[in-house]
Point group: C2
Chain length 570, copies 2
């Protein structure tokens, strides 16, 4: 994409945000980015002029650079990271709560490890330049590296493993919705042979725990079973070799109305119209456990082995989900198909209200009433495509499923001819979930920034009244930090007291500790507690006539840790 | 490097570890890797045979892949990650203690951002393939992306920022010493205009806090000042244009004896022998604040403006370091030069005993007594170089310095002609430290793994005596997790009790909660506390005749949280 295009896109985004009365911080960020792009344009224009004017200052031109992050990536500054770390903490705490242990794999893999795992989307893989060694590519997800690791090591047999890190896709980015080329996924996977549907229920319960703790508002876990879907397709008359492609058409029902999906099935993919209509009847079903009765009473469907196994799995799962007390969050949805080829059983995704694109009524899935078609085009890696951000939703914020054969595929592709090793490797069934951390951030950030711009949780700001007392401030900061109290002070020799207060207030530090020469000689310091409150939507310091409390310097740490303010903060 | 070479290298490493009586886990890991390589070799040989036999099964051949991580990278499995997360926690806690807030930048940058920042080492940059868009490269460190971010945003004016993440160098790896192509650095930087040497002292105090908390044994912070070094070189008669190259020769004094360094200066770099000898006299000095007196009384040196400023800075710094109570950790070392070009003031690095290569006496720096020359070659990106791992030390485990001009360079290279923006951008002095997390791991891991192989801190394992009680186990696990208690159970329908105990004991879970049908009807569960101790160096469960405690199911959470065992664990 040219810089001119980027400016046009950014202008559209900025105007759009203003019209939508979006969060001021978001508008501000868009405006700032636009400014940067225009500035860069100015530099380029100047270079252009320089060139034409034949002032051949090659050296000088060469050192001009465009200060921006690569397309589809961004920096997260301190306030944003404070929010992201909060999200990470919730997710990682839940992973530990459910007995997970951590795995870390390299950010790039040997290219052949990724080859043939992502179907059409393989074109989105970021390749590294061949610099005289291995062919490498950035990881596309955490699932394939995990499967590679399990195939190499066995992963200790059976276990729960989590991974939090960035993955890479050369897709068309929609930055404001958290759809990026570099994005963070948090994965939790259970590998190994266990009794049916128990790991599946654990993962669903984990996902609900995370969704509850993130406080994203109402959410739904949509789920379906690949064996049921395959059974439906077979029973409806889809030829064996068309099942995957028809499945990926069905998967679009959360973004497109049925008439469009049917058109894709019949016109693009050559499916008989009658067969498509039969599928349409099935995939409109969604609901709770009662859907099991409808399916079980469908004798044609139950005669299909795959469908029957899938329905039995779902029945067992619902029993477990009742024990986990999460049934009210579940929507058993026969239109859910998920794109990836490697799923073999249960599949699911978590959606919140903001997941759907604007103007699209998710409930219209199998209804033939026309709904506005989102303008977003299908994925493409071309640099010149543009996406109308206002027409794109955040999408599912977590998704996953059971993939019982992926580890076995790796092991058999690498292992020697011995039958025994093939057998042991093939028997590593897995189920997992990937959580889209950037999408969660896109949803939480507007609320978060409205609560004030804190970017750290410093507890004490050490100040001096009068003569600087620099070394005394250093000594006190050192002592407080040695006691585990997050402390800071202004790195100036003789700063004025109001300047020091302002520096501490920027981070809403709850305790100001003030040193004075005479007081210090008497072994005393002054502590002022600081509080903040919202006034007309803005966070302000609560003014107080309190002159502060004199505390013995030697007793300061104990005094702080026993104060009421401390207890409400830590 | 060919697979045959890799096998040879791995064989050497494995034999070496055995001879050194290295930690058994390390030996085992080396053995496992060797096995994998040999297996891969077998597959390749089979492919070769297949080819010769003309059995043109192209398809089948194509799917064979070599299951390994890219050269210079590795997976960190659950036990290793448990140790790494412990290290990260200590480092990040210290960053927060000192008032830092977090920044996250993309793992790759536009190539021109990295160009011209790393001197000769630029050849070690990992480039991404040009797939029809921007020229991108993996970040080489956190400093340059930080400077780019500061130049773009101003970073909120003045602040303390930390970054923890992976960086990439196509160097010759020495895996067992934590020298890798993908490695994790934790950086803390202070940017903005403050009073002299206060941020510098903060960073040194932070580094000491981290070194203390990591418990790596005795350590030293070696420090020097670029202005003093430059003054020394000028006073000794080094021509202006040779200062940086002579400085990088001096930097090798921690790895090479003086005679070798002098040879490099005179024979390779054409310095006059007398000039080199004068330098040799200066750079042998190391010690504490008393070194200031030696320098101050050197009238020739003090006549040099640069040297005088540097000595004044160091005098002020020592005053501050006394207030921070870290003077005993400091070695003012005139031979420390650090490689990077962008340093402008204080420079430092943290070393521990294992930092030096074996057989090299660090104290011999300016001594002409020959010491064994390590066989490790200088950095080279070639794939076929080999490194004798036994001759390489871990090196400095943290390092950094002041770089007052880097942000300004970015800003002036990108900004338009307006003088005002150039001026504001140029005035962002910075100082920072980078901590080598993989080197710390390489030092801590042998000790850590000796303390037992825990890879998570699950507190409760829920079991059933008798008839499986699967849903009851799920319900209890759900309730405990909802109360924030890390809980697990065996994902089997009707597992035997000893199997469940064994599963819980693998992770040294301190509480076994056992459900029984009749007891549960009476509203009771049984809790057994479990303890571990070392016997002959091996961690074993303490056998106890204790039949467990009957606790009301409704009171279980409160009971657990009030137990003595709980308090010692959490």
């Amino acid at each position: 994409m040219t810089l001119a295009n980027e400016i046009a896109e950014q202008t559209a985004l900025f105007n759009n945000l203003r019209l939508q009365n979006a969060d001021p911080a978001e508008v501000e960020a868009a405006k700032r980015k636009l400014g940067e792009l225009k500035k860069a344009q100015g530099v380029l224009n100047a270079k252009e002029r320089e060139k034409k004017g034949d002032s051949a200052e090659g050296e000088k031109k060469k050192e001009r650079i465009l200060l921006k992050t690569p397309k589809g990536t961004r920096d997260y500054g301190p306030s944003e990271m404070f929010c992201r770390l909060h999200i990470e903490r919730i997710v990682k705490d839940a992973f530990a709560l459910f007995g997970g242990s951590c795995l870390d794999t390299p950010v790039f893999e040997r290219k052949d490890v990724l080859t043939g795992k992502y179907g059409e989307d393989s074109k989105l893989i970021f390749d590294l330049m061949d610099q005289g060694g291995e062919q490498l590519a950035l990881r596309y997800d955490h699932t394939v590296p995990l499967a590679r690791w399990l195939a190499m090591t066995g992963g200790g047999g059976q276990g729960k493993v989590w991974q939090v890190g960035k993955v890479y896709r050369r897709d068309q980015p929609v930055m404001s919705k958290g759809r990026m080329r570099e994005f963070m996924q948090a994965d939790f996977d259970i590998s190994g042979t266990f009794d049916p549907m128990i790991p599946d229920a654990e993962i669903v319960s984990l996902l609900c725990t995370i969704m509850n703790n993130l406080d994203l508002g109402e959410y739904t876990i949509k789920m379906n079973h690949r064996k049921i879907l395959d059974g439906i397709f077979t029973v409806c008359g889809v030829p064996e070799d068309k099942i995957r492609t028809i499945s990926s058409a069905v998967d679009k029902l959360d973004k497109l109305p049925w008439v469009e999906v049917k058109k894709e099935m019949t016109e693009e993919k050559g499916l008989d119209s009658g067969v498509a209509d039969k599928i349409g009847e099935y995939v409109k079903h969604k609901g709770g456990p009662e859907l099991l009765d409808i399916l079980t009473s469908d004798a044609t469907l139950m005669a299909n082995k795959s469908a029957k196994e899938g329905v039995e799995d779902m029945a067992l799962l619902f029993t477990f989900l009742r024990a986990y007390k999460v049934l009210d969050k579940i929507s058993f949805d026969l239109s859910l198909a998920r794109g990836l080829d490697y799923y073999t059983g249960l599949i699911y995704e978590a959606i919140v209200e903001a997941s759907a694109p604007p103007g699209f009524k998710a409930d219209a899935s199998a209804d033939s009433t026309p709904t506005p078609k989102p303008k977003s085009k299908p994925k493409d890696a071309g640099e010149d495509e543009e996406v109308d951000e206002s027409q794109v939703g955040v999408g599912s914020i977590a998704a996953g499923g059971r993939y019982d054969n992926l580890v076995g595929q790796f092991a058999s592709a690498a292992a020697s001819e011995s039958k025994s090793s093939k057998k042991s490797a093939a028997s590593t069934p897995c189920i997992g979930v990937s959580i889209g951390m950037d999408r969660i951030f896109a949803l939480l950030w507007p609320k978060w920034v409205g609560l004030g711009g804190r970017c750290k949780d410093t507890m004490v700001y050490v100040m001096a009244a009068g003569d600087g007392l620099l070394e005394e401030r250093m000594e006190l900061a050192r002592d407080l930090r040695a006691a585990g109290i997050k402390t800071d002070f202004l790195a100036k020799k003789k700063p004025k007291l109001p300047v020091q207060f302002a520096a501490g207030e920027k981070d809403e530090v709850p305790f100001a500790v003030i040193l004075g020469g005479d007081e210090l000689k008497a072994g005393l310091v002054t502590v002022k507690e600081q509080r903040w409150e919202f006034k007309d939507g803005v966070k302000v310091k609560v003014e107080s006539a309190d002159k502060g409390t004199k505390v013995k310097r030697d007793e300061l740490i104990a005094w702080l840790k026993n104060s009421d303010v401390w207890k409400t903060w830590v």
